[in-house]
């Protein structure tokens, strides 16, 4: 009886310490994460515009969104970033990591070369790429193209080329991260699997498809999900390469830039909140769908 009481007080004392440690963080998470999340949902049902009174207008914002061609345009753009960015970056980073994994000599140096772009400020690199895309004689790409006898390209000034031109530096900056994760995944595969495959006389392609890729599934799931989320949230490169416009003619404008514009250029905060809810639902759905698809295959 007495022992149990002592245990209780020790446990209680620990619990008091624990809640003491958690006090400030709980306040933080409630006020800076959960309350704003609820606020975003609430605001999506209002006509909030910063200055005027906030009034509930039901699902009017959602109805308006569904009939807004500008919204469907940015949804199309956003999924184009995703549809091009994820496969291209996954393929590039896997091929590089697969070969880099076997290289011993200069491994660290090569890995560093591929990784460095990942650490840069997107806005700074956006300027470098903008410079490359300039017409001749300023832009390096067009100088090379004309030197090689091809015609010059409009890149960021073209309604068809601008989106890939904005996406290219985002892929360039992203694959360093994917390569490092792939390398970690490749190293985690036990050597015995390869030895067993070698004893069976399996060729390099069979080993790749029957040993390496299946064993890399968790890594691939992780990277597909994280890179999908990153491309769906693309903003920095687009803003910095198109002077915050998403042009020409909105052809590069992604959802996040549309949200930014609706909220801070037009001050339609309620309508912008509705768009953030759509982004949230898309991100949630994509994570769940991809996890399920890749797991059940």
């Amino acid at each position: 009886m007495i022992r149990r009481l002592e245990d209780m007080t020790l446990g209680q004392r620990r619990a008091i310490w624990a809640w003491g440690f958690l006090a400030l963080p709980v306040v933080f998470y409630v006020s800076i994460r959960f309350y704003p999340t609820l606020e975003a949902f609430r605001a999506s049902f209002t006509n909030w515009n910063i200055v005027g009174r906030m009034e509930y207008i039901g699902v009017a914002n959602y109805v308006r969104l569904a009939h807004d061609p500008a919204f469907w345009k940015v949804i199309g753009n956003t999924f184009t970033y995703l549809g091009l960015g994820v496969p291209i970056s996954m393929l590039l980073s896997f091929v590089i990591a697969y070969h880099l994994d076997r290289v011993r000599f200069g491994h660290g140096l090569l890995r560093a070369l591929y990784f460095i772009p990942h650490l840069t400020t997107a806005v700074a690199m956006a300027w470098v790429w903008r410079w490359f895309y300039q017409p001749p004689p300023i832009g390096a790409f067009n100088v090379w193209l004309t030197t090689l006898g091809f015609g010059q390209m409009p890149f960021l000034r073209s309604t068809t080329q601008a989106l890939p031109a904005v996406l290219a530096p985002a892929i360039w900056a992203g694959i360093g991260f994917q390569i490092v994760i792939f390398l970690a995944g490749l190293k985690a595969i036990p050597r015995t699997y390869y030895e067993a495959a070698a004893i069976d006389g399996a060729g390099a392609w069979r080993v790749l498809f029957e040993v390496t890729l299946p064993l890399l599934r968790p890594t691939i799931v992780f990277l597909v999900v994280t890179s999908s989320i990153a491309y769906l949230r693309i903003f920095d490169y687009v803003y910095a390469m198109t002077n915050g416009q998403g042009g020409p003619l909105d052809t590069t404008k992604p959802l996040v830039l549309k949200i930014f514009e609706t909220a801070f250029t037009h001050f339609e905060m309620g309508y912008a909140a509705t768009q953030t809810i759509v982004l949230f639902v898309i991100l949630l759905a994509i994570s769940l769908l991809q996890l399920k698809l890749l797991r059940s295959r």
């Binding site: 310490w17 704003p36 999340t37 070369l113 400020t121 970690a184 995944g185 996040v256």
Partner: protein, 301 residues
């Protein structure tokens, strides 16, 4: 390289092969590389050079005079530091640099302190509501920043935090990701060590600070690097929270260059260099921690 890779024993076949061919062959390269491998190696090197070309061009341009900017040669005929001097004299750059440094440092310190404290509490204390707190913090990882910036903005506006350092920093003072990461690492620490500290008369805070924290320094350094870089390059929220040019962070200031130095590409490249060089220096100094940290974080997640 070896420090960032797996333990040496992880690749016994490679070791055996290397040891077997060690006799008499002079150079490392010929010893381990078949002709096909040399081709792959060369391709990898070329790819790597292409990857860093944008930096090389950026840096080269920052040392060039305006009349040389149209020449694509890498080395300027006459190198100059003039662009850097002009950048620091004529624009808000020194101030922006300082703003970014201050905000990133304070945020990183706060994240290290609170994320590791909360991670430790969730890993090592048994109390009612522990699981609920953990799930609640974990669930914040699913909430995109873009959804929170509007409520943050109205909050900051009501409290007068717009155009202040605090206004830029407050949303990032704790992170669900860091808490989760630190919890994973603290779970690997044996309870006996902590009990030994308690027997020595340390209170619970001292046990965390003096016994547990020193044991997870690799995880702490990885978290520090991610958090610092994340805040150094953060764009969306600082763009919203700051309208006063003097309080811009580097990325926001750089984005505003379109008006100022639009046609002076050597000045734009100098600004981009100043924003980029610190992160590359940090990487070169702490390369093994960064790579190991990313690999660990990726695997744990």
């Amino acid at each position: 390289m070896s420090a960032a890779g797996p333990p040496q024993g992880a690749r016994p076949p490679g070791r055996v092969r290397r040891a077997a061919t060690l006799g008499g062959e002079p150079s490392t390269r010929t010893r381990t590389m078949a002709p096909g491998n040399i081709a792959v190696w060369t391709l990898l090197l070329l790819g790597g050079i292409v990857m860093v070309m944008p930096f090389v061009y950026m840096l080269a341009a920052s040392f060039k005079f305006n009349h040389e900017i149209y020449e694509l040669s890498l080395l300027p005929r006459e190198a100059t530091l003039d662009n850097y001097r002009r950048l620091f004299e004529r624009s808000g750059f020194p101030r922006w640099f300082g703003n970014s440094l201050l905000i990133a440092t304070v945020t990183t310190a706060s994240v290290l302190f609170f994320d590791s404290l909360v991670g430790y509490t969730l890993a090592k204390f048994r109390f009612r509501g522990r699981y609920l707190v953990f799930i609640a913090i974990l669930s914040t990882l699913m909430i995109p920043t873009e959804m929170l910036v509007l409520p943050w903005y109205s909050m900051a506006r009501n409290f007068g935090w717009l155009d202040t350092y605090w206004g830029v920093a407050f949303p990032g003072l704790m992170t669900g990701f860091g808490t989760f990461l630190m919890k994973q690492f603290f779970e690997g620490i044996p309870d006996d060590l902590l009990d030994a500290g308690r027997l020595d008369g340390l209170n619970e805070f001292q046990v965390w600070w003096q016994v547990a924290l020193p044991l997870v320094t690799p995880a702490l350094s990885a978290l520090a690097i991610f958090t610092f870089l994340g805040n150094w390059t953060a764009f969306l929220w600082p763009l919203i929270a700051i309208t006063d040019r003097n309080l811009y962070t580097l990325p926001v200031g750089l984005a505003s260059f379109s008006g100022e130095f639009q046609t002076e590409w050597e000045m734009v490249m100098t600004g981009a260099s100043v924003a980029t060089i610190p992160t590359i220096l940090v990487f070169l100094l702490l390369q093994r921690y960064i790579i190991r940290g990313i690999s660990l974080a990726g695997l744990k997640a």
